[in-house]
């Protein structure tokens, strides 16, 4: 059983960060979630979740240096920590086991 339980939205956010790899900052994460999960997400909700995941030690974030793009504002990048990967795979296993032998 996973030591850390993840909510559905937390899983979605973690998976988006994982998929984006090195390009994971606010704008692409939201775009990824919108495109794949078909969900509109506000910036506030997204950053609240990311902050929570960081507090739990599942992701790590850092600020990149400001560039001339987007009004000279810096980007905050995210990446998954090993604990985050573990929590995700744990959650997946739970669902796999629950789905085993079921056809809907």
């Amino acid at each position: 059983m996973p030591a850390i339980y993840l909510g559905e939205f937390e899983q979605i956010v973690l998976l988006a960060v994982l998929r984006l790899g090195e390009k994971a900052y606010g704008v692409p994460i939201r775009a990824e979630i919108e495109n794949r999960a078909g969900r509109k997400v506000t910036v506030g909700a997204l950053y609240a979740t990311l902050d929570r995941l960081e507090a739990k030690g599942l992701v790590h974030s850092w600020f990149a240096d400001a560039t001339a793009q987007r009004g000279g504002r810096s980007k905050r990048y995210f990446k998954l920590l090993p604990a985050g990967v573990e929590a995700l795979s744990g959650s997946k296993k739970v669902f796999d086991r629950m789905w085993e032998g079921l056809h809907v």
Binding site: G26, V27, T42, A48, G71, R76
Partner: protein
């Protein structure tokens, strides 16, 4: 290219701040550029960030579970302190529960009838809306309400040959229809029942159970009230007591009164669609009509009042009970305050103990807000525990009072219910939460205060000074309560020592109601015969007859001259030997004698002085009623009797005259019997004799004269015992407070005491040092408390039977009592201090 809204961006920067804000603003700008505009969208996103950041949850809730579980853990580790705190709170909250459920039952309850929110009372500013005579027309005129007339009265109900006193509601026959009452058995009255030759009556469920043993055959039984025969047609449902709870009626009869003076209260149900305003408007119109029809009537000139029927409401009744209730509320508020201070003190001393822990946590980066919250959580847990215990305690007290109060000679207190409903629970929860905040704030501030240095060293002068101040406040407040209850006890003692002016010992009375079948010729003979037979009972020294028995008084019209407007004077109608038996000396003239012709009158000294100042009134004519009624035939003053008390022990000398019962038309006499020993032993033989030989006379009440006097003091006795009980509670709480402060200072100074002992201090020195601390706190408390009392007792003036509220004995004894309590409270910590082993003390910590 679209620019983001400036204001939204600067809000983000200001309220979120730092690089976080920068990153968010960058994300938003990038998306905005990609979307190609949409200021509304931008605002929505920016606000979503701010909403998340400033949500209550994010600001306070994370970790609130931790706060509470830590608080619980600390309490589990030291249950003694938590229990003390909860008990202190429980006692104070219990008193407040009882008081509030009392107020609730007096002021906030609706009638237990369907759609009770549609019931209104129609009256006048300190008066009645109409007379009984005009009620029928008023009822028919009202379109917005259905009105019923009610009059509360106290009378004897006669069943067969015996009777008992009962509270009765005389009502119009539409009463049950207006209130939509249901009967537990039988039926309520039919319309027009008041004009039946033998009307039906409804008895209360309680009366049915107590007087009629709950027998189903009670229906159809015949009774007499107000000189009329009734038959029981129904038993009311158990929850309905009267149209004006907490007054409790024993029976309801359909009546109508024709005399001009009789005025009913109107209780009415609003018709569908009617509002309070429309009823008020209609009442004003009808009131104007009534006034025009009878311009002489003073009461009809007062403005009409319509108010919802909630509790014991009335323009005049509120003001009557307000002083006593205000006093009670103030007193229980003070007790609650003292309890809060106690708990604050306890928490502060805990804060002193935890100083090091807190300092270490602070130096490791624990925020002040976090420490503040933890202390608050602890307070809330303690308050919750105190609340639960307090509610149980208050419920128990309420039940005890519900059992005790009916013994009071006051109909109002018989129906009070102290059950805990949602209003009481809500009030208590509010009081508990307020307490929690009150007593948690000082320790919360103490805990979250900065300054690691003194804390690490282990001494905080500020903290212990604060606790001492709280203790002083407690002593002062409880001293004020002690002074107040001392004053009431002194007033009670004083009023009990007042000489009533007549003999009370070994005497008892039996009340008769001869009204039912009164005959001007035979009834006086009946009394005479009975009196003779009673005197023959062995052990009866003498017996007499009197119209009124203390504390009841009657009135009669009379005047010293032949005048068309005689004045109303207190009067009594007695047997000739009354003065002898009651030891009321005739100071001039003579008593009543059998020569008749003229009506003999005996004045008391005050009336003699009032009507014939400086003269001897014996031999003067006196008019009993107006000149017309007496047909110019005056009575004759034959004597003057010494003054006595007639209605209450503390009354001023009151004018009164006596008539001879054989020359008066009185029929409602009481027998007074003077016995050789304990008067109660002769009650049964006399009552048996009265039942056997009394003919049409019916007995309904009997007691000793001594207890009639004691009963008249119930009010001050209740005030003294209620205030005394609450005062004791306050002292107990404050004593715990003083003990706590002294004991804590001993614990904190263990090292110092050890050093002193090691350097050769005697145990007595150490004991005195500790004791002196307790006494210093108490002395300051007493000084402030006496000042406070001197200010507060002026509110008590109305309760003191004329005694000055600045009674030196009450003040001095309260101060002395507190000194004794302080010595007792400091004694144990002082003794413990001397047992400190210097070696252990030096190694302390």
């Amino acid at each position: 290219m679209s620019e983001p809204p400036k204001l939204a961006e600067s809000l983000l920067r200001r309220l979120i701040g730092g690089r976080d804000a920068d990153a968010v603003a960058g994300d938003l700008r990038e998306t905005l550029e990609a979307r190609g505009g949409g200021r509304l969208w931008y605002w929505g996103q920016a606000l979503s960030c701010l909403a998340v950041r400033f949500s209550l949850y994010r600001r306070s809730l994370p970790g609130i579970g931790t706060d509470f579980s830590r608080a619980l853990r600390r309490i589990r580790r030291d249950p003694g302190y938590a229990l003390t705190a909860m008990l202190c709170l429980a006692l104070a909250l219990g008193v407040n529960t009882t008081l509030f459920s009392f107020l609730d039952s007096l002021y906030f309850r609706r009638l237990p009838v369907p759609e009770a929110d549609r019931i209104v009372r129609i009256e006048r500013q300190e008066g009645h809306f109409c007379t009984w005579a005009s009620f029928a027309s008023v009822r028919d005129e009202f379109r917005t309400v259905q009105a019923a007339a009610v009059m509360f009265f106290f009378d004897s109900i006669e069943v067969g040959r015996s009777g008992f006193n009962a509270d009765i509601e005389g009502v119009s026959s539409n009463y049950s229809q207006v209130l939509r009452l249901k009967a537990a058995m039988g039926t309520w009255f039919a319309p027009g029942a008041e004009s039946d030759s033998e009307p039906s009556m409804v008895i209360s469920y309680r009366l049915w159970k107590t007087r009629f043993g709950g027998e189903p055959d009670v229906l159809g039984k015949r009774l007499r009230i107000l000189n009329r025969a009734f038959h029981i047609s129904g038993v009311s449902s158990p929850e309905f007591n009267s149209s004006l709870p907490p007054l409790m009626a024993d029976a309801w009869v359909p009546v109508t009164f024709r005399s001009r003076g009789a005025r009913p209260n109107l209780v009415a149900r609003m018709e569908p669609g009617a509002t309070l305003d429309s009823v008020k408007a209609e009442a004003a119109v009808i009131s104007a009509r009534l006034r025009a029809a009878d311009p002489q009537d003073q009461e009809l000139a007062k403005p009409a009042v319509v108010m919802p029927q909630v509790g014991f409401n009335s323009t005049s009744r509120y003001s009557f009970y307000a002083p006593a209730l205000t006093m009670l509320s103030m007193v229980s508020g003070i007790v609650l305050l003292i309890a809060c201070v106690n708990v604050a003190n306890l928490l502060l001393s805990r804060a002193a103990v935890r100083q090091r822990e807190i300092a270490i946590r602070q130096s490791l980066g624990a925020g002040r807000w976090r420490l503040f919250r933890e202390t608050l959580a602890e307070g809330l847990v303690l308050a919750a525990g105190g609340l639960v215990l307090g509610m149980l305690f208050g419920y128990a007290t309420g039940q005890a009072l519900e059992w005790l109060l009916p013994s009071l000679p006051m109909a109002l207190f018989r129906g009070l219910q102290f059950d805990i409903n949602w209003r009481v629970a809500l009030f208590l929860a509010g009081a508990g939460a307020l307490c929690a905040v009150l007593f948690s704030l000082p320790p919360a501030f103490a805990n979250s205060r900065g300054g690691l240095n003194p804390a690490m060293k282990g001494s905080d002068v500020r903290n212990s000074r604060q606790r001492e101040i709280y203790s002083v406040v407690q002593v002062a407040l409880s001293l004020a309560l002690l002074v107040a209850s001392g004053l009431l006890v002194r007033a009670l003692g004083r009023v009990q020592r007042i000489d009533p002016g007549f003999a009370t010992d070994r005497r008892f009375y039996v009340n008769f109601s001869g009204r039912s079948e009164f005959d001007e010729k035979t009834t006086p003979q009946l009394y005479s015969g009975l009196l003779q037979r009673v005197k023959e009972i062995p052990g009866v020294e003498d017996a007499t007859l009197s119209w009124e028995i203390f504390p009841n008084t009657g009135f009669a019209w009379s005047a010293p001259t032949c005048s068309p407007q005689p004045s109303q004077v207190r009067a009594n109608s007695v047997e000739a030997n009354y003065f002898d038996l009651m030891r009321i000396p005739i100071v001039s003239g003579r008593g009543f004698v059998h020569d008749a012709g003229v009506q003999q009158v005996i004045l008391n000294q005050t009336l003699a002085r009032k009507w014939w100042p400086g003269e001897d009134p014996v031999g003067k004519p006196i008019w009993m009623g107006s000149c017309e009624e007496t047909k110019g035939q005056p009575g004759l003053v034959v004597g003057v009797a010494r003054d006595a008390k007639y209605q209450s022990l503390d009354e001023d000398p009151t004018p009164l005259f006596y008539l001879w019962r054989l020359q008066d038309r009185g029929s409602y006499l009481s027998l007074i019997v003077h016995t050789a020993g304990d008067p109660r032993q002769w009650m049964k033989p006399v009552l048996d004799l009265a039942a056997r030989e009394g003919g049409t006379l019916r007995t309904y009440d009997s007691d000793t004269i001594d207890s009639a006097i004691a009963r008249s003091l119930w009010e001050v006795k209740w005030q003294a015992s209620l205030l005394g009980a609450v005062g004791l509670l306050a002292i107990l709480l404050a004593a715990v407070g003083v003990y706590g402060v002294v004991a804590c200072s001993v614990a904190q100074r263990t090292r110092e005491i050890g050093v002193r002992m090691a350097l050769g201090a005697l145990p007595l020195d150490v004991q005195w040092m500790v004791l002196a601390r307790g006494l210093r706190i108490t002395a300051m408390g007493i000084a402030i408390g006496l000042l406070l009392s001197a200010f507060a007792v002026r509110f008590l003036r109305g309760f003191l039977y004329g005694m000055s509220p600045f009674d030196p004995i009450a003040f001095a004894s309260a101060g002395l009592a507190w000194i004794v309590i302080a010595i007792l409270a400091s004694w144990y910590p002082a003794r413990r201090a001397t047992r400190v082993d210097p070696m252990t003390a030096l190694n302390y910590e």
